[in-house]
């Protein structure tokens, strides 16, 4: 089986995640966990990746550094997982139901080559 990386991207928003009510935040976390658990239950999870914090910096040509949030980028990278599948199509099938899609985000599926 080959490995594929699923990259989650979200539309840039101005909502401060620390202001999301705890119950809502928990429900969202549960959604992600249940979705990832479903992939793991099929024995297809290679790595549950790393979660990325929301703050960060962007380095541009000429040594220009901007702080996040990344106002000039329409979408930001959320996090990633690595799954096992026989083909790109199969990996894409695994991505269905991803909670990122519920918040207008996207899932990018890329084969890992070495």
């Amino acid at each position: 089986m080959k490995e594929f990386m699923l990259l989650f991207r979200f539309p840039q928003s101005n909502i401060d995640p620390s202001k999301i009510p705890p119950a809502e935040f928990q429900a969202l976390a549960k959604k992600w966990q249940d979705w990832a658990g479903g992939i793991a239950a099929q024995g297809r999870m290679a790595s549950n990746g790393n979660r990325l914090a929301l703050e960060g910096k962007v380095l541009k040509p000429g040594g220009v550094i901007t702080d996040g949030p990344f106002v000039e980028i329409r979408e930001m990278l959320g996090s990633f997982i690595v799954v096992k599948a026989d083909s790109l199509e199969e990996a894409t099938t695994l991505a269905h139901g991803c909670p990122a899609l519920d918040s207008n985000g996207t899932v990018e599926i890329r084969p890992i080559i070495g």
Partner: protein
């Protein structure tokens, strides 16, 4: 009654005495230790049968074993040539042959050393479980054969190979150096976990034997918890896990050979004392940062000790199974996770996920599907139960599944 007492006494003392004598002779001569102990038991049975039981049977056993050990030292040529020079070299100045020391302290230390020696990763794990049952738990060859649904000859061969391995790998009876203990402990805990599972999910129908296996695994776990260097959160998590599972032993058993499923168990039969002990160790396991698979499994088992079906309970169980799958995928964890998904998020979602699993050689998979379709699409439920029936491995399982099919109509 007396016979039962003797059996228990011998089983308990076997592992202690073999450990102490082996620590004296060296692990490469473990058979001598086993012989000495077996002969001691034989003499005990004969003498006690005529004269009655002495006031302190354990002290009697130790005294006789001590004599027999010294006798071996003096008479056995292999020992004279191989072991004694080594022993003398080890003891350096002293020319006196050491006697086995059956003090509480030395028994404990020797058993711990033996535990680490037997659970050395150099030995293949199937042989290791056999060796652990024999040397650490004092089980007889016929009992081990029964537990594995095998025969004595196979078990003897397996044990022989395991002991060969002890010799060829030059495994010593000593605790690993302090900086290696935590790493080596993983393998020890894994073997204890396998011992427990062997008892809990064993193929044998012998309920007493199964329970004894579990009790022994628990005892070994507690031994590790009693020693400062191995008293780690993951040790406590494993103990908690075993306590919670073992608490349901009484409730699982039926007069027939079958098992009472969790949903139908009478919670009044759950062993509250073991549940409390489990909670105590679960609390201790929460120290530190590490979340081992034992932590997750112990928490799952904890929630199962609460009978009431609440949303909170099943959401917690589902979340724990989700995490467990990330550390430790297995088809049975995947199936249990899907059942928890059904209880927490409902039938519709669980059915979609269950259909994706495609564990097509696993009868438990079809049992789960049947259960999910039951009362919703009985035709599909029946179809799945029938598939489970054709894949089931034992008569007991087939009888149980037939009942489920009959209940549908």
């Amino acid at each position: 009654m007396e016979k039962e007492f003797l059996k228990r006494l011998f089983q308990q003392e076997f592992s202690k005495m073999v450990a102490v004598i082996s620590s004296l002779f060296g692990l490469e001569h473990i058979e001598i230790a086993e012989d000495v102990v077996s002969e001691t038991f034989l003499q005990a049975t004969e003498t006690w049968g005529v004269k009655g039981m002495p006031p302190n049977p354990t002290a009697w056993l130790y005294a006789v074993a001590r004599q027999k050990t010294l006798y071996y030292f003096r008479r056995n040529k292999i020992l004279e040539k191989k072991v004694i020079p080594e022993l003398v070299a080890r003891q350096e100045k002293s020319q006196e042959i050491e006697e086995p020391d059956f003090s509480q302290q030395n028994i404990r230390d020797s058993q711990l050393q033996m535990l680490f020696a037997v659970c050395n990763p150099a030995i293949a794990s199937e042989a290791q479980i056999g060796l652990a049952l024999r040397i650490l738990c004092g089980f007889g060859i016929d009992e081990i054969a029964e537990a594995f649904l095998s025969n004595k000859e196979t078990i003897n061969k397996r044990l022989f190979r395991a002991k060969e391995k002890l010799r060829t790998e030059k495994i010593k009876m000593q605790l690993p150096p302090e900086n290696e203990i935590a790493g080596r402990l993983d393998n020890v805990l894994h073997i204890i976990y396998l011992l427990f599972s062997e008892g809990y999910y064993s193929k044998t129908q012998n309920q007493i034997l199964r329970k004894e296996l579990c009790i022994e695994a628990l005892r070994l776990g507690l031994m590790l918890a009693g020693y400062e260097k191995t008293h780690l959160p993951k040790t406590n998590a494993l103990i908690a896990l075993m306590c919670f599972h073992a608490s349901r032993f009484g409730a699982r058993e039926t007069s027939e050979d079958g098992f009472v499923l969790y949903e139908q168990q009478d919670e009044a039969l759950w062993d509250q004392e073991l549940i409390d002990q489990g909670k105590h160790f679960l609390y201790l396991s929460a120290e530190g940062e590490e979340i081992s698979s034992y932590h997750l499994e112990a928490r799952i088992a904890y929630w199962h000790c609460i009978k009431a079906d609440t949303r909170e309970k099943w959401e917690n169980i589902l979340s724990l199974y989700n995490q467990l799958l990330m550390v430790n995928y297995s088809p049975s964890v995947a199936l249990n996770r899907t059942f928890a998904l059904y209880k927490a998020n409902g039938r519709q979602e669980a059915l979609v996920e269950a259909e994706k699993l495609k564990l097509e050689n696993n009868h438990f998979y079809y049992l789960l599907l049947g259960e999910l379709y039951k009362g919703f699409d009985n035709k599909k439920a029946a179809l799945n139960f029938q598939k489970a029936y054709s894949l089931a491995k034992t008569e007991t399982e087939r009888t149980g599944i037939q009942k489920m099919i009959d209940n549908l109509s």
